[in-house]
Symmetry: none
Subunit: 202 residues, 4 copies
Amino acid sequence: MKKRGLSVEKTAETRQKIILAALDSFIELGFANSKVAAIASAAGLGKGTIYSYFDTKDALFEGVIDYLIEETLDPIQSVDLPDNQTVADFIVEKMVASVSNIESSGRAHMARLILSEGNQFPHLTDLYRQKIYTPWNQEIQKLLQIAIDRQELPSSIDTAATALLINAPIWMVMVHNGVLVRDEPMDLMVLFVENVRLIFKC
Amino acid sequence: MKKRGLSVEKTAETRQKIILAALDSFIELGFANSKVAAIASAAGLGKGTIYSYFDTKDALFEGVIDYLIEETLDPIQSVDLPDNQTVADFIVEKMVASVSNIESSGRAHMARLILSEGNQFPHLTDLYRQKIYTPWNQEIQKLLQIAIDRQELPSSIDTAATALLINAPIWMVMVHNGVLVRDEPMDLMVLFVENVRLIFKC
Amino acid sequence: MKKRGLSVEKTAETRQKIILAALDSFIELGFANSKVAAIASAAGLGKGTIYSYFDTKDALFEGVIDYLIEETLDPIQSVDLPDNQTVADFIVEKMVASVSNIESSGRAHMARLILSEGNQFPHLTDLYRQKIYTPWNQEIQKLLQIAIDRQELPSSIDTAATALLINAPIWMVMVHNGVLVRDEPMDLMVLFVENVRLIFKC
Amino acid sequence: MKKRGLSVEKTAETRQKIILAALDSFIELGFANSKVAAIASAAGLGKGTIYSYFDTKDALFEGVIDYLIEETLDPIQSVDLPDNQTVADFIVEKMVASVSNIESSGRAHMARLILSEGNQFPHLTDLYRQKIYTPWNQEIQKLLQIAIDRQELPSSIDTAATALLINAPIWMVMVHNGVLVRDEPMDLMVLFVENVRLIFKC
DNA sequence: TATGAATGAGTATTCATTCAT
DNA sequence: GATGAATGAATACTCATTCAT
């Protein structure tokens, strides 16, 4: 069989094309208003082909979210914290990369899709929470605990609540820039860093 | 016309029934998955009656959002700030009432509907921004400016960004409690107050 | 009871208003596209009132046609033929009045309603045939027989066919002016008289 | 694409099936009373298939009329008139074929559909006038002018009016046989020929 | 008697999904 | 594997008709 390898690549490539076309459509039109036929057409494929790769339209949406989760998975790791760096600096440093490309990487789109369609896809909300949201919050909580241990933060703080406070500007800006005030976007980086400085009083 | 008075009451009551049934359905199922027939049935009315009050399903959704906006309109007013109260205390005090009933008053539902359906209803997003979001942010910015004038805050802060920081925990908690982690709700009040204290360093 | 008489008049007047409003609507929009509510509104009445006078929308249409048939009933009578007038002259003279106001009297509208809606209202087509179409043709046939007897026409003619030939320009013009070429109406009188002259070779 | 040929044939056949089933329904029930589902069923197809071929029920009706116009287009041509044949004979000869199959060819149905539904489909009335009615009348007028030139007719006649007179029996019979007196049909051929003889006095 | 709010049967239309080619 | 013609369940919406006032 001369090009079995190629065929596998081809398949992966076709799958990719479908997912990207579907993602565009879901972002622009939402799940309910996206038509399988239009996605197929945008992917340069026939309708039937979509169904060779995904059993149902729901499965296609799950495939898109799965893809985004895998693609954008890049968790902050508390174990990477060097001894000679403050927790605040570490968080800021680590988040610069992550936060600066939150829109271009598709992570903002993913989050907004979870916000808008999550109610109807509890399974995906669960997945997002398990793979992205909760791990991130837990790593932040670990870092906060380390900060308390190092006396960079008072022991009186509630780590769960403070983790949410660190997270809050990210969601605020995703809502602000992506839904409510698209023509005057706020700079997430500025907000995020300022917020960390306030929390760590530094 | 003798029974005109009754008739007006009756129609207002029917309209109310429709809106409340529709609201429940939109919150639970989203717009696309809500069926007009089911809403009518839940309201104890015939399908046709819905269409006597709203031309289309879209118009019904707009009616629901309009209703929520009118119902929940209760803006913070910077002019109410007493001389003998700090801006931080004023914000906290004013927001206690507002924030404590954010779920029960329907304001959280409204916000989440805007998040989930707003893309497909730009007109409603505009309305929400004009009536709720922007006025709130602007009043907060005025208060921040007063705080700067009173030297409760350094003049170096960016009032637009800081207003968003004050807002951020509210959206964070609406997302956290309403979408992602429904079984372990975070106490918005705690988060909000703590955040104000951090910002005002008090 | 002071104004029972008035009440009867009022009732007849209301009925008249309904029929005229309905007629306008049926002519302009056809039966299927005419809405009872719109007819009521055009008549300055409530929807329910229509149903006090006509059981159903179909009955309303029948009422309109009945009204037109009664209103416009003005048959040519062969017994009116004077001895000292040719049949051709008699037909022409009698039809001048009838044909000249065929549009303004509503007879053309009635005929076109029968054409356009008759298939769905066989009862009305029957009525029209019995009250208008067949009597007219039969009187014309009687006149043609008299003309044969008087040797104004050869005995070889087929009176049924010739009656239709006399009728033909009327329908031709109703179709031409009313449906196909509204902006360049043909003068029915000219056509009708010329046609009679051709048939009677005079 | 290998099966493209087959596919094209198949779709043409399906389109034909739809049009014929729709035509039957429109003739029997009229446009408003024809149900898309019933037409689909009569065509041995699913409802959705109709909508793959015609965007709306209105478009389906237009498709049917278009089809009839194309199918039945067979105009009399004045240029075909031989020198050694009278105009009257030419008209009679040419119309024998055309008129004798006016019912079986669908032309009568088409004309009656225009009569009954034309008011609601001005576009189709226009099309019918442009493609069928006006060309026919114009060719007849040309022939009448030739007849005048050849002195087969006096120059005093009005060609436009006389063309309508020639046409009149056709419409008269379509109305008579198709709407009013279906059980005693008149022989169109007899009427048409007799009428031409009267007009040409031959 | 007149009204118009309420009703729900009836219909056009959409679109995810199937499957023969 | 890829295709797109065919399908029909599902749904928004209409409007003749009823009936309480």
